[in-house]
């Protein structure tokens, strides 16, 4: 380096005493504040999980997991806490909901992305969002007023059996409608993510639109469609209000879709806060909550994993 350059360097590193820079301080405060808030909200999941677990300890100490999960005897007064009827109830109701909702939503999403004109899409999308925004109690009312009597009439005329209509099927139908928008909206995103060039490549070879969808679009979108379905089904697991109103709430494992069921969330909502003088009762109900929590967490995580993998693969 020449002398001149050295001198220039010296000039540049001369210390300067600036006044306090409030802009930078504000920046730091808000940056950190938001970090803390973000951490808190994600920590909440862990805290809730731990709290539930701690509250469940009394019943876990006196009953084995096997008994709790597989026994079908539910007599809190006698100290019998078999969750099997409720777990089976939840499973039945969710399965029916998934069987109805997954194919229907998939076909709807396919129609909207592949077949419909732009006008139709701009009209339908807000309507579907609206469907997602309806409070679950309204769905429950609709279930009680329309679905339950229809099932009763249906069973009476077709199967010649007399039932109340409050049943697995009623809960499944109501739930299906409720998870419809969630599945459709994620599936829509996944399908629109499939590059349009792929469709063109297939169509240009003389494939029909349906062949293109079946063999190219869905093939590419399959993991995403699965994730969308899991997310929807996860919502069905935890849904409480509407199900509680139409499922019938009988603590017995259902044997047909016309039988009433007592899903876990309904059990908790109906009983928590009442009759808590019975020993271990509140601990048992919270165990129900913990089971739900874990199941939902598991499926949600699974769906996220699939979606993350898709994103990494970059379609």
């Amino acid at each position: 380096m020449t002398v001149v350059e050295l001198r220039a360097l010296k000039l540049r590193i001369k210390p300067n005493f600036k006044p306090v820079n409030w802009r930078l301080i504000t920046e730091a405060i808000f940056g950190n504040l938001m970090l803390v808030l973000t951490l808190l909200s994600s920590l909440l999941v862990v805290v809730i999980g731990l709290l539930l677990f701690q509250k469940c300890l009394p019943i876990l100490e006196t009953h084995s997991w096997a008994e709790l999960l597989f026994s079908s005897s539910w007599f809190p007064l006698k100290g019998d806490f078999g969750f099997s009827p409720f777990i089976l109830g939840t499973t039945w109701v969710t399965a029916i909901a998934a069987i109805i909702a997954v194919p229907t939503s998939l076909l709807t999403a396919i129609f909207l992305t592949e077949y419909s004109k732009k006008k139709m899409r701009t009209l339908m999308n807000p309507l579907l969002d609206l469907l997602a925004g309806i409070p679950s109690i309204v769905y429950g009312m609709w279930g009680v007023l329309i679905v339950v009597p229809s099932i009763k009439a249906f069973a009476a005329t077709v199967f010649k059996i007399s039932i109340s209509g409050y049943s697995v099927l009623a809960a499944g139908i109501v739930l299906a409608v409720m998870i419809f928008p969630a599945i459709i909206s994620v599936t829509l995103q996944v399908l629109t993510g499939v590059p349009v060039e792929l469709r063109h490549a297939s169509l240009a070879l003389g494939a029909t639109q349906w062949q293109t969808i079946k063999k190219v679009v869905l093939r590419k979108a399959l993991p995403g469609v699965i994730a969308a379905s899991i997310l929807g089904v996860t919502r069905a697991f935890g849904e409480t209000m509407a199900v509680l109103m139409v499922a019938g709430n009988v603590a017995r494992a259902p044997h047909s879709v016309f039988d009433p069921a007592y899903p876990l969330p309904a059990l908790i909502a109906n009983n928590y806060g009442e009759m808590l003088s019975i020993p271990l009762y509140d601990s048992a109900l919270l165990l129900g909550a913990l089971i739900l929590f874990l199941v939902v967490l598991f499926f949600n995580g699974l769906a996220r994993l699939v979606l993350i993998r898709i994103e990494k693969r970059g379609f």
């Binding site: 732009k118 792929l198 490549a201 297939s202 070879l205 003389g206 062949q211």
Partner: protein, 258 residues
Amino acid sequence: MQPPKPESRTHIQTKNLSVYYKNTLALNNISVEIPDRAITAIIGPSGCGKSTLLRSFNRMIDTFDETTVRGSVLVDGEDIFSSKVDVTRIRKKMGLLSQRPSPLPMSIFENVAYGPKIHGMRNRQQLEVLVQKNLQIAGLWDEVKDRLNESAASLSIGQQQRLCLARGLAVEPEIILADEPTSALDPISTRHIEGKLHELKDRYTIVIVTHLLRQARRLADYVVFMYLGELIECGPAAQVFEHPKEQRTQDHIKGVIS
């Protein structure tokens, strides 16, 4: 040896073809004839309607929202925009090469077999023969013969484009439509594709859209020059390049407008 080339005939013809995207006029009253078994290059600056013209040849234009097509496109004398026409049959007559290669999300083998399969070919042996033949024509066979079951996405871009060529040829088309087929490729892959097109022109009618004048000079037997949605000039390549009749063609060739 091939028999001497008979007098060329018109393979694709447009009559007063106009295309609107929503309310924008993309093609204005185009009447042009594409001769068979030769390479016709559609040239012109970007946005001049080259690709739109190509897309109307195989009715891929249908897949775009809110387009209106007026006039007619005749392929072998048949009006393909007529409502009675089965569009899949028209498209089967043509292989398409797009700007970026678009391998389907399946294996190399399945990509080539895709077209024949959707048109009803089930016999595994027949398919194998067909796949090998078309990969050989596309000049890809030697590079992929040991990994036919690998994903097509594992190929390089240049290989993918040749795979797309093989896939297009597998439905036994009469026409190859190429929409700037080398714009995403490196020089060597470009030369590969150009060489293949040159080889194939004895058997196929080839229409290539390109914004590269040099590519058009290298390949084309006939040239269609378009500007702002209008057909300015068309004719044998030598004539259009050496003695253009229109001022705008001259300007484009000299690089004054692009």
